[in-house]
Symmetry: C2
Subunit: 121 residues, 2 copies
């Protein structure tokens, strides 16, 4: 199936909720997700997969066990599998995540912060 092209800005305009990733495309078993973030997420890790973050708009900080990575627009970072991390944003930021199908946003922790998985927009 040939899906239509995806315009990132137009997709971001379709939702306002925070920390709720939306799938916009797939490449094999890898999903491209958009997420609006603001404030502090919880510490978590993904035991089975790396997780790529690309900042589309705004600024994102990712706390790691021994460092904090600060990303601006057009910057990306890959959190290796099994590494604890905590994404944070002082003001709202728009992020693209790239990770395998089936990854839950809160990783090893299931709680009220866990977003529904595989939600397409």
């Amino acid at each position: 199936m040939i899906r239509n092209l995806v315009n990132l800005k137009k997709k971001f305009d379709l939702f306002v909720d925070k920390w709720q990733p939306k799938v916009i495309a797939e490449m094999n078993d890898v999903q491209f997700k958009l997420v609006r973030v603001e404030g502090e997420f919880l510490w978590h890790q993904h035991a089975d997969t790396d997780e790529a973050f690309l900042v589309i708009e705004g600024e994102l900080e990712i706390d790691l066990p021994n460092q904090t990575v600060r990303l601006g627009e057009g910057e990306m970072f890959v959190v290796p599998k099994g590494v604890e991390h905590r994404p944070r944003a002082v003001t709202e930021a728009k992020i693209m995540l790239v990770e395998p199908r089936g990854v839950v946003n809160t990783g090893d922790i299931a709680n009220e912060g866990s977003a529904p998985n595989d939600v397409w927009i």
Copy 2:
């Protein structure tokens, strides 16, 4: 290994050649590559994998068997595996490719347009 963050614009500034993808990051076995394109590439396909295109700057056209997809900045498109395609750009465009490690730019065709694989910058 925790790699440093990647600034897309700074990475693009490190090279000027066209149609020669450079790897900037990996997420599991998936590579993120930057490529400058201008003019018309050759028709080809990748029998074993989808291929994702994200336009970082400029405009890209992707000819498909029965349609042409026109992508502007901030737009992405995934060419399904096995589908013949020909990327084109009237003026220079900066593109991010997302595809599994090992994919050759010319797919099923090996010729003078085939770029060295797995070249990191």
